[in-house]
């Protein structure tokens, strides 16, 4: 099933007149793990905000599970289907206790309290934060906060999660925590994931990447062959992981190697 469909989508910011997105056509299937990369100002965050109707396209159409985001009556249902996690962990938690924070969205929806309990428990387990339910958010590390933010979204039982640079403000441990929880959710719960990131090592772990530059999609496909075109990536302001750079450098010096994205693979190919 098509989870997300964007048809000739454009977006122009009213205030500045800036055209943030130009003629975007994109289909994402249910259960896919899609990475979106691009330099600052390339339009990635604008695109993300169209997916749960924080913005409406100024041209074209966005369909979520077949529902048109232009139609007012669809908005609530779409926001339940598509959850969003943002960059700054400190701006996303509102309650004074972890479990209250996770329950917040459900209470707003008027879900009965017996059900809230069950869904909060399950969501906290899915992100491995069940032992922190009574903690105050300020006692948590950045990675833990992002996992709680994720739990708040999981409690809504979405079919798709959109993450906008969720690890940009985290340390390496926090990054790994968040990435591995997101991968589990995708693989085990079959949740569709749209993952926006500057961290190319994270992007390289997705099924498919969309590369954006100046409001357009300029490449799409599996990460390895796209990243191997280092000159193109650099031209649009992106870098590739050191392992890919090394593989390309070795290839230029005459070693016969395929497009490589991870350390295991490179080591295996060399020795």
């Amino acid at each position: 099933m098509n989870q997300i469909e964007m048809k000739h989508v454009g977006y122009q910011y009213n205030k500045t007149g800036e055209q943030a997105l130009i003629d975007i056509d994109l289909t994402i299937q249910s259960g896919e793990f899609v990475g979106i990369v691009g330099s600052n100002g390339s339009g990635k965050s604008t695109l993300a905000r169209l997916l749960n109707v924080l913005l409406e396209p100024t041209e074209g159409q966005v369909l979520i599970g077949g529902l048109d985001t232009h139609k007012r009556e669809n908005v609530q249902q779409i926001r339940q289907k598509v959850g969003m996690v943002f960059q700054n962990p400190d701006n996303q938690l509102v309650a004074t206790k972890v479990e209250d924070d996770v329950a917040f969205g459900l209470e707003n929806l008027g879900v009965p309290s017996s059900q809230i309990r069950r869904r909060v428990d399950r969501a906290l387990e899915q992100v491995d934060m069940q032992d922190y339910r009574d903690f105050s958010p300020h006692q948590l590390s950045g990675g833990q906060k992002q996992r709680v933010a994720l739990a708040g979204i999981l409690a809504m039982e979405p079919s798709c999660i959109v993450l906008d640079e969720p690890t940009a403000m985290l340390d390496p441990r926090g990054r790994k925590e968040v990435m591995s929880v997101v991968q589990d959710l995708n693989q085990q719960k079959n949740i569709t994931v749209v993952y926006i990131t500057h961290v190319m090592r994270e992007a390289s772990r997705t099924d498919r990447i969309i590369v954006m530059s100046e409001g357009k999609i300029v490449r799409r496909g599996q990460p390895a062959p796209i990243f191997a075109d280092i000159d193109f990536m650099n031209k649009i302001g992106l870098s590739v992981p050191p392992v890919t750079e090394l593989a390309v450098a070795l290839r230029k010096k005459g070693l016969n190697l395929p497009d490589i994205m991870d350390v295991d693979e490179l080591v295996k190919c060399i020795c």
Binding site: N40, D171, P172, R173, S239, L246, G254, C271
Partner: protein, 287 residues
């Protein structure tokens, strides 16, 4: 001008219930001209350490000595220390506030009591150092610049004070790859061409290994590793213990060593590493 910084038995305890010991009996010399990479997990004491270095907080016990003088001893000296040890905070662009780049950069020098001409010279120099054209940018609002440019302006504001030591706290956070690369090269150039010592706090091991001449790793308020990048990253188990990564390039070279290819592991440049691998493969006569 180069400066020598010494920490003698420095401890810092946050007075709260229960008290938190952020740093414990730190002894450390920072030699003039060094480029120090300060690494450690969140909460290891990195930020406390740099706040002590420029006198923002005072040690609970022990001494911070700059060019032979204890900075805790006189208030007047402290102002001078803060000028000479520049601190660029995390997300420094959030603290930009003036209407034009020119006025933003004039703010610090004006506070030093410099005259108009000298301020003008400093602003031109600072913009030149960060590679931004004076005529193009001086009248622009800092708020209409890109995030990467805003961060460079914040850095220029500190450079205009002519510091001897520059401390940067997670300067790469939130920058896109292009911005990160530009900033990395800028820091390298400043270190090579200006008489400035650097202390760089970052989680990004690829950048740290490329820039630093010496790495300090903190864990729970103690310095647990101190050495050149080659020395530090040759101990991957120790780094994992304190929850830090090694640069990906280093990891690859180690893994090749384990598989019996005798490559050097103290290389932090992609081209050089590729040459090394090809070289060793040839001498083994495979490939």
């Amino acid at each position: 001008m180069h400066m020598l910084i010494e920490l003698k038995n420095v401890s810092y305890i946050y007075e709260q219930e229960p008290p938190v010991t952020a740093l414990e009996k730190i002894n450390l010399n920072i030699e003039p001209g060094a480029f120090i990479g300060l690494i450690g997990h969140t909460g290891s004491g990195k930020t406390t350490l740099v706040q002590l270095l420029n006198g923002l907080i005072k040690p609970t016990s022990g001494q911070v000595i700059v060019d032979g003088k204890d900075i805790g001893e006189n208030k007047k000296g402290l102002k001078d220390i803060r000028r000479r040890i520049g601190l660029v905070f995390q997300y420094p662009e959030h603290q930009l506030f003036e209407e034009t780049v020119y006025r933003e950069l004039a703010f610090g020098p004006k506070n030093l009591g410099l005259d108009k001409d000298e301020i003008d010279v400093r602003i031109r120099e600072a913009l030149n150092l960060i590679g931004m054209d004076f005529d193009k940018y001086s009248d622009r609002s800092p708020f209409n610049l890109s995030g990467g440019q805003q961060r460079k302006i914040a850095l220029a504001g500190v450079l205009a004070m002519k510091p001897g030591v520059l401390i940067l706290d997670e300067p790469f956070a939130g920058l896109d790859p292009r911005g990160r690369k530009q900033l990395t090269e800028l820091l390298k150039r400043l270190h090579e061409q200006q008489n400035i010592s650097f202390i760089l706090i970052s989680h990004r091991m690829d950048e740290i290994s490329y820039l630093a001449t010496r790495i300090l790793a903190l864990k729970e308020g103690h310095i647990v590793l101190d050495g050149s990048p080659a020395e530090i990253f040759s101990q991957p188990e120790k780094l994992k213990e304190i929850a830090l990564d090694i640069p990906q390039l280093t990891e690859i070279l180690f893994r090749l060593q384990k598989k019996g290819l005798e490559v050097r592991s103290d290389i932090f440049d992609i081209e050089q590493a590729a040459d090394e691998i090809i070289d060793k493969l040839r001498s083994r006569n495979i490939c």
